[in-house]
Symmetry: C2
Subunit: 389 residues, 2 copies
């Protein structure tokens, strides 16, 4: 007896339907928040007993996401399985998929994306424009390609939130390269970094969110803030949207695909990397768009019609990163002051402990006027600090 | 160590802050959803072990809201106490308040509003325009006032969701009057029913939401659907906003006050009744307004700056009531179909069992064009049915 009539998974019933998420961090938290509207029952597993989702899921259990048995057993206990982080045991997901469990995004997509080398090779194989690269096995290997420098050396697996990327400007920097399988990627002289989030359901229905522009922290390779829509001309926007769509189609993904791109100074758009899940570049959609990326994720993996991605107003997103020099219980300076600013929406992740540059929350800023939007962003960045004392 | 700097309750810390809600129904659910943004820890008590909030609160316990000891003990376990239903033990709340606990809305406000007689008397005492009325002790008493008919007889206490109101057209109907303390209220020849939700914090800062227009179900005295903003002229709107503001000031409420009003055919605005909490007439604000009524509730009771109540677009709200003739596990016919309509947002309350006319969910509908908005509302009403089979 389906709770929803129609093509929706008929095993989903009012009393027995259950969805599992591998990972209970901030992306899981925002997925949970969106799931409340449709009374979806969400079960979460995360290695951290103090993960942001711990109090809000139908059930929460502590467990490794990379251990075969743990992931396999968790997957068996739910009807539909999804992720909020790609560092998970894909072998277990494949076993579950073979047994007929709905696992979205598909394990094969996660496997490719987990490895930056496979990911780049995938772009090349599918004629998706991307910066030139060489797959490397170790540091010694990198030393062989000095004519390819300046380049970035990216760790093949397990890079995360700015870790796992090194700029190798010249032969002198080769010592900074990772002594593990990786990708040596031609440094792109880019004007902007863009991102487009794509949703795609089982039927192959596909929708993109408006193109956004990300500004990275100069040292920490983390999104510092973001503007939506990106300030680019129509032709560039069409290119970015088209590449994002083609990338999602190439993967055949069911779920969300966040496509990060470079806009080069020559006006070329290149795929940088992708994530098969909700993404930092889409937090603002909760407030600024008709459908948020989180709701779109549920629509996509439950094979429901995708939602309208139109924005109500221009928006920006400021990541709240732990202040340098502060490690310990978190406190949010300036929280109340920014609450009195119109069109300013803080979101705190509930992480007990702050660390330098840890993602502790974000602030969405909206305004119909772009100049005022920029002023508000500057004010938010100046006022809020995540500290410990 | 306050989690938020400023005037915010300094006992609220990252690890120890806790907020309690008396009641875990759909209003509690939407309060929980809004609380996720600020990582508020919410504890809930409800007499129903299967209440909609059971899986989503930091803690959920089953217990009576009208039992002194239960409410008192629950209140002692939290830092700030609020309600999502006014049928609670006010003696316990007053004891907690005397001991210095933050209880918002204030127990005195709840006490007045719990009793429709006291409520009407309050309006009269504060020169708030309201339909003429007589306080009655019992049915016999009603029979004495036949010259006052046609009128509505309202049960003084414990009326809820359309129960506790009887139309007494003439002396022949007196048998329908309640044989308990109540209010005999002059039937108002109204053109429309309006509502304004007011937020007010400890500082006395006050903000109103735009005036909405409610259409009641002809038989069941339940909001069937709602349009925001109300189609009224500016002078009437000013009157409604002004009366709502004065009513909230008269109560000195900290929290939300939903003020339901009649617009008479003569263009007069009269207060009908009020609720000291989030209200059915504000569900659409989750999607349609910069700040939702639920976020505004948190801002008000935590003494934070109130949020901008501006609407992004005209909106409507359709209550999803259990279909007549269906009692049992709920199923939502037409859910998927309406998800494919742009600007249509269903919200399901997660009640396991549907009953005729039970509030099972609602659908927010938005459109920049009022005619299209009406068409979408008609389509939603025609397509969705909450059934059991």
């Amino acid at each position: 007896m389906p709770i929803f009539a129609g093509r929706f998974n008929t095993r989903m019933t009012a009393t027995t339907s259950s969805i599992g998420i591998l990972g209970g961090g901030q992306l899981g938290l925002m997925l949970l928040q969106a799931a409340i509207d449709w009374n979806l029952r969400i079960h979460i597993i995360d290695p951290d007993a103090e993960a942001p989702c711990r109090h809000l899921a139908t059930s929460f259990r502590q467990g490794s996401l990379t251990d075969y048995d743990t992931v396999y057993q968790f997957g068996q206990s739910v009807d539909v399985l999804t992720i909020e982080i790609e560092k998970v045991n894909v072998d277990a997901l494949e076993a579950l998929e073979r047994e007929g469990k709905k696992v979205y995004p598909q394990p094969a997509v996660i496997r490719t994306i987990q490895d930056k080398g496979l990911q780049k090779q995938f772009f090349r194989n599918h004629n998706l424009p991307t910066a030139d690269f060489i797959l490397t096995d170790n540091r010694e290997d990198v030393a062989r390609y000095t004519e390819f420098l300046p380049a970035f050396h990216k760790l093949g697996r397990d890079g995360y939130d700015g870790r796992g990327v090194q700029r190798i400007a010249s032969a002198d920097d080769v010592g900074k390269a990772f002594d593990a399988p990786g990708v040596l990627e031609k440094a792109v002289d880019f004007a902007k970094e863009l991102a487009v989030i794509v949703g795609r359901n089982e039927q192959g229905e596909l929708m993109t969110f408006p193109t956004v522009e990300m500004v990275f922290h100069p040292e920490h390779n983390l999104v510092e803030y973001l503007f939506a829509p990106a300030e680019i001309n129509e032709a560039i926007d069409r290119q970015a949207q088209d590449i994002a769509r083609r990338t999602a189609e190439a993967f055949g993904i069911v779920g969300l695909l966040a496509v990060e791109m470079f806009l080069t100074k020559d006006g070329e758009v290149l795929v940088n990397e992708v994530a098969p899940r909700p993404h930092n570049s889409g937090h603002h959609t909760i407030r600024a768009n008709v459908t948020s990326q989180y709701e779109q994720h549920w629509r996509a993996i439950l094979n429901l019609p995708l939602g309208d991605t139109t924005a109500y107003q221009p928006a920006a997103m400021v990541n709240l990163l732990g202040a340098p020099g502060h490690t310990g219980p978190a406190r949010y300076e300036g929280f109340e002051q920014i609450l009195s600013m119109p069109g300013v929406f803080p979101f705190l992740y509930g992480k007990a402990v702050t660390k330098p540059f840890r993602k502790m929350g974000h602030v969405t800023v909206m305004d119909t006027d772009l100049e005022r939007l920029r002023q508000k962003v500057a004010e938010v960045k100046q006022r809020v600090r995540v500290v410990s004392n």
